[in-house]
Subunit: 419 residues, 2 copies
DNA sequence: TCACTTAAATAAATGATGCGGATTAAATCT
DNA sequence: AGATTTAATCCGCATCATTTATTTAAGTGA
């Protein structure tokens, strides 16, 4: 039954060699992509958009229908002044497959089961201080969470086509290894293999959490239809996602950059520090704890409600907190200005829990960026904040698996699903 | 007759749709690329390397032979213990086409005519202070230089398949427009169209000069066979070339980044300045002039021999100059450390006239990089200096045109040459 | 009811591709 | 000279997309 995601795998030694199979895979992907992006859509319109001939589209959609990946959606919709045969609309078959996305954050784990259209069918959030536990405990929790979420969605584990786990840090997706993460003391954790084993062979992949949001933004967020943009996530760690020509840009070895390692000039002081030491949630909380030492807020920080408390104090105008957020914002602004210089993206999206701090952090960030950018780049990039719920991150993880399922024949993705 | 390069052109609205023609173009390119990279090579070996079937390779090489793009090179070479039918070696036909590369530098223009294998057939260097003249004068000089170089190579202009002009600054290759350059006061100069017109319709393209070195490094420099690396050029301006998965990475709009716009912390001082204000040749000379004010060296700087003079003083141990170079090296080191964080390239190549300053600049650069990089990235990137002669840059420009001629069917490159 | 229009499927012909297996070519070895 | 080995090519086959035309569907409009 069903489709199975091919985890990361074989980085092609060189560019793929072309054969009829590749040709078909490419066109098939185009059709799938058109259907995914343009909702219920008629064959003629697919033909228009993809510039494939009507015959080819018919053939491919026929195969997709046979495979159960898409369904017909008879309602012609609004047909004004339409005379001839009504178009029959095609759409992804929501039930063609189900995938699970999980996201590991410092103080909770969110897991969502989605259908083939990335609609969430069930989700759960486990309030866990991930860093407090070892890898095997976390793997246990994730395994149980996944089994639970799948059951909640009324499914069997065997019906799941793939699982994607997103976590902060440096992740080598192809190998399924977490090279380094603020969540774990260990390095080079082969988490994907471990979970695949635990989940009775259901393919599990690993990715950096920023990449998940980046894909999510591209698919259903603020960057729909945008083929070049950056996502900066401000969480416990700092992440950078790069979408370039519609593809996720991964570093040289297939591992994403860790923005936290970027070096910035601290607003007060003359040395250089890692960005993570100024602008990550972790560092901000540490600073705040220092500023409000031994006060009544200590309790809140202990409970992991730190950022909320921090925001509260900022709104109350606590000068220490405001200064701290400004410092973080300025450091981020510096980093983002440099990223804009490098990539000239039309849009930069800020995501992550720390953004809840709102204008106290974002305004200095924007001000810094516009102060630092040269005039020629002043209006290139639109900086927007997008606050995502926990579910959305998990949905991004699910989308990452679906992307493989849809069968993109290029990049590090596996081959098209067979038959 | 002959092949004609298709300048930049049509950024595909979406990923190319696959048809047999594309398939052939892809495989054809693979074969061409194998021949270019692995010198005289037998068909079997192409088959091995490309993983194309022997039949396909035979068909493609047959067509290439018909087109005159490659030639047979009967000498079997060293055949030890070879028994069967001897392999016939194939190689690029040096005379299949000729291209011209030009490179505009602050104080000279170098132009080279090369054959199909990027062997230089003639080259000239015009000692011109480019910045002193308007665009039309420069275009005049380039036109005349190209005509002269072509004639020197014993060719007619009509035999030239394409021309590529490299210059510092922000260049939008696809449009053939120089958006901004330290050489010109004006912006948005449509230099490619202008030169195409002047050269009786020979296709002229524009590119950032760093991209030329980057391609040159990939083809015949220190990055042969490396599919991920960075090139930082330190000249009048500061440039960054990014090779990612064997392809030149261009910014969102197809324009390369200007490293000079990166913001760095000046070693002495607390604000932020553009990297170009610390580490470009221009700024270093300005600082040097200030340091050695009204001295006997003034004359040298006037004559454009500034960098040589500077190097001379540095070797003599002039503390002001040494400090100046250290400052530049440290600023570059900071920038490069951040680039390594972002891209994790196995190699970073430093190129450009300013590198002649040698260890006085490079040592602080290296020291800064290793001091700033986090341990996890400490050994990722190999930083090397590569000093290029003027001809080499021009050769890079020629290679850029050849790359199109070879017919890479992806990226922003034009279609495969016909018939 | 009967044209008319548009959508989609179907069929046949064409051309291009790559592949596998058999075949020819050109050397060396015995 | 004949066997052997390796290189390159030839022949037939299957796949796939494209074009053109034909057919079936399912509406609208008079």
């Amino acid at each position: 039954m069903g489709i199975t995601a091919q985890p990361g795998l074989n980085a092609p030694v060189q560019m793929k060699t072309a054969d009829p199979e590749l040709m078909r895979a490419i066109n098939r992907f185009h059709v799938m992509d058109a259907i995914r992006r343009f909702g219920p859509i008629a064959r003629v319109e697919i033909s228009d958009r993809t510039e494939l001939s009507a015959t080819t589209v018919s053939a491919i959609t026929g195969a997709l229908l046979d495979d159960g990946l898409i369904i017909t959606h008879q309602l012609g919709g609004i047909r004004d002044a339409a005379r001839g045969r009504p178009r029959v609309l095609l759409d992804l078959n929501p039930d063609a497959a189900h995938v699970v996305g999980a996201r590991l954050a410092p103080d909770h784990i969110t897991i969502a089961t989605t259908n083939f259209r990335a609609d969430i069918r069930s989700s759960i959030t486990l309030p866990v201080r991930v860093g407090r536990h070892g890898v095997s405990v976390v793997a246990d929790l994730v395994e149980d969470g996944i089994r639970r979420s799948v059951a909640d969605a009324g499914l069997e584990l065997s019906q799941i086509s793939g699982v994607c786990i997103g976590l902060p840090g440096v992740v080598e997706r192809g190998a399924g290894i977490c090279r380094a993460s603020p969540l774990f003391g260990e390095r080079d954790i082969p988490l994907a293999a471990e979970l695949t084993r635990r989940l009775d062979g259901v393919a599990a992949t690993l990715d950096s959490d920023v990449n998940l949001v980046t894909l999510a933004e591209h698919w259903f967020g603020q960057a729909r239809g945008l083929d070049d943009f950056l996502v900066v996530s401000v969480e416990m760690g700092l992440g950078l996602g790069i979408m370039h020509k519609g593809e996720l840009f991964r570093g040289a070895n297939g591992l994403g950059p860790d923005l936290g390692d970027l070096l910035v000039k601290p607003p007060n002081g003359s040395g250089l520090v890692r960005l993570a030491e100024v602008a990550s949630e972790e560092s901000m909380l540490a600073d705040a704890r220092r500023a409000l030492s031994a006060s009544e807020h200590e309790h809140a920080f202990r409970l992991g409600r730190g950022m909320e408390k921090l925001l509260e104090r900022a709104e109350a105008g606590d000068p220490a907190i405001v200064a701290l957020l400004r410092a973080a914002g300025e450091a981020l602004g510096f980093a983002i200005a440099n990223l804009i210089v490098l990539f000239a993206p039309p849009k930069v999206i800020l995501a992550g829990a720390a953004l809840a701090a709102g204008e106290a952090l974002v305004r200095p960030l924007r001000d810094t960026v516009s102060a630092l950018l040269p005039p020629s780049l002043a209006d290139v990039a639109d900086i927007v904040v997008h606050e995502w719920g926990d579910e959305d991150w998990a949905r991004g993880a699910a989308a990452m698996t679906l992307r493989d399922l849809y069968g993109a024949p290029w990049g590090t993705t596996g081959p098209a699903p067979h038959r």
